[in-house]
């Protein structure tokens, strides 16, 4: 990144405290994180702060990151799998600014990856932390509006209700059609919403080497999946859990096993499928993989000259 080097943390001319939040707030959040890690899948309440972005833009994830980040970290932020979307770029620049961290788009290089909607395709390693931005931490909320009741249901492990939504799916579509935020059981004890990641990514959570932290800023909840934890997606005996599959391959890198986004190209209904994980796709193209629509390289000079004429 080409951001100018800001004043070091705690330098007198620095406008914000290191990593934006004050030390007491970060301490409070760290305590909640520790509790969340100790009870995998349990939603720990925390005193969510006002952040310089609106609720729904990742305030929970930003507070988690702010609480755990240090100057030696390498930070990556993705939105829908892509490094180059507005939200991801803004949050990445925010932490480059307030926490003096190096930023990267490389999944393997990053120590903290903040995400919404995806788990990167490249398997995560020990020592990495994946921070999820969560809009609704309560998987049962759609069926049970009372917080007192859902808390009791978690406490007493009464999770039959969650199956009602799966039942509705099967009766309406003939299969479990839910695609994102697909509920999981963590360590066979707590029912957890994996934030709106596609169910394609659910199996990646099981026995993952990385620490996974979930932050919901508006709902004021933190929960976590520690490394090497059992995570099971719910299903029926006669309708087992399945992930999405595509008949197409990635149009740019030809990947057959990654999560694909459908992109409409024109009014005639032409479309292409591309990897949603932009770094994964770029890495594969560099390695020489070619998809059906990646046959040509752009002539940069020609492209620059054209508008002038």
């Amino acid at each position: 990144m080409s951001t100018p080097v800001p004043a070091r943390a705690n330098a007198p001319e620095r406008y914000y405290n290191y990593a934006y939040l004050d030390e007491q707030t970060k301490r409070m959040i760290r305590r909640s994180i520790l509790k969340a890690l100790a009870i995998p899948g349990y939603q720990v309440p925390f005193g969510s702060r006002e952040m310089p972005v609106p609720y729904g833009w990742g305030t929970g994830g930003i507070q988690l990151t702010a609480a755990i980040i240090g100057p030696d970290d390498v930070y990556k932020c993705i939105d829908q799998g892509a490094d180059d979307t507005t939200n991801a770029v803004s949050i990445r620049r925010f932490f480059a600014n307030v926490a003096d961290v190096a930023t990267t788009e490389d999944t393997g290089e990053a120590t903290i990856i903040q995400t919404r909607h995806r788990i990167p395709e490249k398997p995560l390693k020990q020592g990495q932390v994946l921070v999820y931005q969560v809009p609704q931490p309560e998987p049962l909320r759609g069926l049970e509006a009372r917080e007192t009741e859902t808390r009791a249901m978690h406490a007493y492990e009464e999770y039959g209700l969650q199956y009602v939504s799966l039942y509705e799916n099967v009766s309406a579509y003939g299969r479990i059609a839910a695609t994102a935020g697909y509920p999981v059981m963590v360590e066979e004890r707590y029912l957890m919403s994996p934030s709106p990641i596609p169910k394609f990514d659910n199996p990646k959570m099981a026995q993952n080497e990385a620490v996974m932290l979930f932050g919901a800023g508006r709902e004021k909840r933190i929960y976590a999946v520690p490394p090497f934890t059992r995570v099971r997606s719910l299903d029926f005996e006669d309708y087992p859990f399945e992930t999405q599959t595509w008949e197409e391959t990635c149009a740019l890198c030809g990947a057959e096993d990654s999560y694909l986004d459908e992109v409409i190209l024109d009014d005639a209904g032409d479309k292409m499928f591309v990897c949603s994980d932009s770094h994964h796709c770029a890495e594969r193209r560099e390695a020489g993989h070619v998809g059906p629509m990646a046959g040509h390289t752009l002539d940069q000079d020609a492209a620059l000259k054209e508008p002038a004429q």
Partner: protein, 265 residues
């Protein structure tokens, strides 16, 4: 009847003793005691504000009484005070062994999910994880409460009031409870629908050998459904006895008033 001398009466399914509920200094109900045996239908009648619903809520574990005991013959713990059980055990017992039919189907149904899912929910709560089996059980039960099984996936709001009540009945019987509470189950329905639903309820209760506690202010419902009646006034039970006995030969002045004020056409 049974002529064996010294026949032992079956153990009570539910035994209530000295049940009192105060709302601050306002009386809900005072010193209620009765036994309910398996397969018995008990009617609780009385005017509005007489403490019927307070009593029902106390017995069904929804409202902690100020004093007194509610003992139920649970499958796992035998005859126990339900308020002495831990909360998870009590909730589990309620799920497994009880049903509760509300007056307003909106209170007893999940309006956002289909009628079929509403009926199947108790099965899932008890650990059912096989869709096909639960679907079949749902269809069987919809058929049993005389609903069109093709409408299994319609939302409750698309059913008429009487049909919603039938869905609620199916939902509360599908898991084979031993005791069902009914709070004015025919309250909001017109007379012909009411009659048909009562008929159905009577048949189901007899076929399944259910014990039922039914709260109603409608003497006709009490006469048709209940084996025994408890008449309440001002939070206290003023008269108890066999239904026909209480209705045909009321002793307490209030019961006499109640019986005589039924409209005749």
């Amino acid at each position: 009847m049974n002529a064996i001398p010294g026949r032992i009466a079956p153990a009570p399914l539910l035994s209530v003793e000295g049940l009192t509920k105060w709302y601050g200094h306002v009386l809900g109900c005072r010193d209620v005691a009765f036994d309910l045996r398996p397969g018995e239908v008990l009617g609780i009648v009385g005017e509005s504000g007489s403490g019927k619903t307070t009593l029902l809520n106390c017995i069904s574990g929804k409202l902690t009484p100020t004093s007194g005991e509610v003992r139920f013959d649970t499958r796992r713990f035998g005859l126990t005070d339900i308020y002495g059980l831990s909360e998870p055990d009590r909730r589990r017992m309620q799920r497994e062994e009880w049903g509760f039919v509300h007056q307003n189907p909106r209170d007893g149904l999940r309006m956002r999910v289909s009628g079929g899912a509403n009926v199947a929910e108790p099965l899932m709560n008890l650990g059912g994880r096989h869709y096909g089996n639960m679907r079949q059980a749902t269809i069987d039960w919809l058929d049993r409460v005389e609903l069109d099984t093709r409408r299994i996936d319609d939302k409750p709001r698309n059913f008429s009031g009487g049909m919603q009540q039938r869905i609620q009945v199916a939902r509360n019987l599908i898991h084979g409870p031993r005791l069902v509470f009914m709070d004015e189950p025919t309250g909001g329905l017109d007379v012909s629908v009411q009659a048909r639903l009562l008929d159905l309820l009577r048949e189901l209760v007899r076929d399944l050998g259910l014990a039922v506690i039914i709260v109603t202010h409608d003497m006709a419902v009490a006469r048709l459904m209940a084996d025994r009646l408890m008449v309440m006034k001002g939070g206290e039970v003023v008269e108890t006895g066999l239904t026909d006995q209480v209705l045909d030969d009321p002793q307490h002045p209030y019961t006499q008033l109640l019986v005589s004020s039924v409209l005749q056409i």
